[in-house]
Symmetry: C2
């Protein structure tokens, strides 16, 4: 159930029209107050965090059973109805007219500037999809100009397993990886020279399914708890050499970053859109990937942006530069389709599993969600303020992903930011 | 440190020359006594299990700190030296001359026939390699007759991420998966018709490494705690359609089975062999994958067998038929090389991670470790006792993997068995 667009909060910053976190959003995350042992589950509101533990201790929040557990997992496990009812209660606590809750502000609120955000949950499985047809086409056209999309693309939400141990939260530095690169007469071994980002949306699984029990598309969204941003850092030179026949491996598993706030399904209700219209001549999704709801409301109208700020820009106090902006509503496959496909063979998803959408790209250069596409494998570099050139990332570059849903007359529902600085190789 | 080949045990069945579990082996696992709440870590000895909890309670085993925890994880985390010293102590408990321990037999031993074995540890990451050049060649020659091995094969221990949630312990039924199969004008959707097994050795990671910190080949074996059998069940029709460009996904993640007993590094000391000799003209491994120890003792002289028993054979009390036997000593890459390659980019391995060797095959038909190779994609079926024909697996077929190291004058070190029955699709 979405929250009234007119509702305002006694947390003043939440009423700023530019905030990612108005009272209509209320994403959940795990915070740690810097220099203290205060650690817990919180909800972002403007530039503050509502501490659910403290609100519960003071009797302001009812039924919060997870005390100091620094993970969303037990909450996510209960599914979306529990999250939705918690959300309604929290909106009531934070709405402008709740002066008694506001009187406790100093005890239940924490400034976002005072915390380090932690991983929201223990991620046990990570599957990365390839659901942007523009991305698949742009990449495919470099590898196979005559045949950019493989014949399975329009039937299968293509995906593969990623590595969970190296998923880190926004703000964690990313070390440039070593790898093997193609070479003559022998491959070379050294730091990757083609380090790239990928802007993706991540979906976190709430309710699990048993091994052997597929999830039908009609129920698929009941298993998706919420969304975050995902940067699937990639070493393109390593990927080009290792990637066949079994897919990407070391080119991806050195690190992936996620944003710390999980925006729940409910908060996005006003931004659900029809599945993207397929080009004339493309097949309809197969029946097991088809439902009325998915066709009419399976998409989400997120806008995704990538920004970059080099070490030299930071030194000169130059702001980050935007590299791309693309719409998630153009994805060829919806998350419901990805989840249903993933389980069609009985594969069991677990609470906290991360499904990545794959790089989100449009057709035009300023919509391309990774440098491989944007600079055509480094061949067409771009310029940063101050004149630095980039084909791929250089040491010290910070990549900042931003994501949000917005529309006239609606409060902006932000995913927040996912940041990472590339540091030199070992 | 290996245990004296002449040592015998007061557990009579351990002295039988055909047992997988003489006192020289002592593999570790988690058992549950059927119909009771007795659950714990045990060591296989002949046809019995030594309960470490009970031996500790009686003061027979010293320093066992993990009481009833039904996982090997805390023990594995401590690394191989702790496991080796525990092993020496247990050999002392079980050796023939220890009459005081033998006097407690009824309290510290459990019959293997009375237990259900559990997963030995929580597997957090699963990486499957492709280290048998014979397997890669046999499969590649069906797909690309003119070019069976891709150019990276001789430089990279090729691997990819698998799914952990669907890994099950030996004895668990495997449900035939649904999937998409190639078809005209549209792909079809239905139960896979080409369900296959793959015989592999699994290595379980003990000591972890930190994100960003590669493990050099000289230290790689310090991170490998022990070995089991692995059946990486595969749906070949699904794999053929989905597998490009990002690798196998639903064709593999419906289930993988592992054997329950983990044979430690130490027990295999007498069976370490040089890395397989590469054919003339093949490149040497790159320097980061090279060490003197790996060259002289990086291999393990396991023999791996696959047996099959159909429902009709069970009904007629016909014993299982052997389908293949191959030597693990012929692998193109060692586990030390796989682990070092996996971490060269800083990827962090965690205690309990499973590394699969990939299908273990020889060159000859009776050495091929999956049906895809053995029947040439079903085109050359074989016959079972009673006349049934098989191109791929049929419902009710039980696949039994067996693995062991043996040599004249040495006690056999067995991995035990990994069993699974294919049940009908949902």
């Amino acid at each position: 159930m979405s929250i009234d667009q007119k509702l305002e909060s006694w947390v003043a910053s939440a009423n700023d029209p530019t905030t990612d976190f108005p009272i209509q959003n209320l994403p959940v995350g795990v915070f740690h107050v810097r220099g203290s042992d205060r650690l817990g589950v919180g909800v972002a509101i403007g530039d503050k965090i509502l501490s659910l533990h403290d609100a519960s201790e003071l009797g302001i929040l009812q039924g919060w059973r997870w005390r100091d557990v620094p993970t969303l997992a037990p909450l996510m496990m209960e599914g979306n109805a529990t999250a939705a009812s918690l959300r309604q209660q929290i909106a009531g606590i934070l709405e402008r007219s709740n002066t008694s809750a506001a009187a406790h502000a100093s005890r239940i609120l924490v400034a976002q500037s005072d915390v380090i955000m932690r991983m929201p949950t223990d991620i046990r499985g990570y599957t990365d999809f390839y659901a942007s047809v523009n991305h698949a086409f742009n990449v495919g056209s470099m590898l196979r100009p005559e045949n950019p999309l493989l014949p399975n693309y329009k039937y299968i939400p293509v995906g593969y397993h990623g590595r969970t141990s190296s998923i880190v939260v926004s703000g964690t530095d990313i070390r440039r990886p070593w790898g093997q690169q193609k070479g003559e007469p022998e491959p070379s071994v050294g730091p990757s020279q083609w380090v790239d980002y990928e802007v993706e949306v991540g979906a976190l699984v709430g309710r699990d399914n048993a091994l052997g029990e597929p999830v039908r598309i009609e129920q698929a969204e009941e298993h998706i708890w919420g969304f975050c941003l995902l940067n699937d850092w990639s070493a393109r030179d390593v990927q080009a050499w290792e990637g066949q026949p079994l897919g990407p491996f070391l080119s991806k598993n050195f690190s992936s970053s996620i944003s710390p706030w999980v925006v729940t399904m409910d908060a996005l209700e006003p931004f659900r859109v029809p599945m993207a219209k397929r080009p004339v001549g493309d097949p309809s999704p197969l029946p097991y990937l088809t439902s009325d709801r998915n066709a009419s409301r399976g998409g989400i109208d997120f806008t995704l942006e990538v920004w970059i700020r080099s070490a030299a820009m930071r030194a000169r106090n130059v702001e980050a530069m935007r590299l791309s902006r693309a719409s998630f509503s153009e994805m060829y496959w919806t998350f419901a389709q990805m989840l249903t496909h993933h389980t069609m063979n009985g594969c069991n998803l677990q609470t906290g599993d991360l499904l990545g959408s794959g790089t989100v790209s449009g057709k035009r250069r300023e919509e391309m969600g990774c440098l491989l596409e944007r600079t055509r494998r480094g061949a067409e570099p771009f310029e940063l303020p101050g004149g630095e050139k980039r084909g791929f990332l250089e040491d010290g570059d910070e990549v900042i992903l931003r994501g949000y849903a917005e529309r006239d007359g609606m409060r902006r529902i932000g995913l927040g930011e996912c940041r990472g600085v590339l540091t030199p190789a070992i």
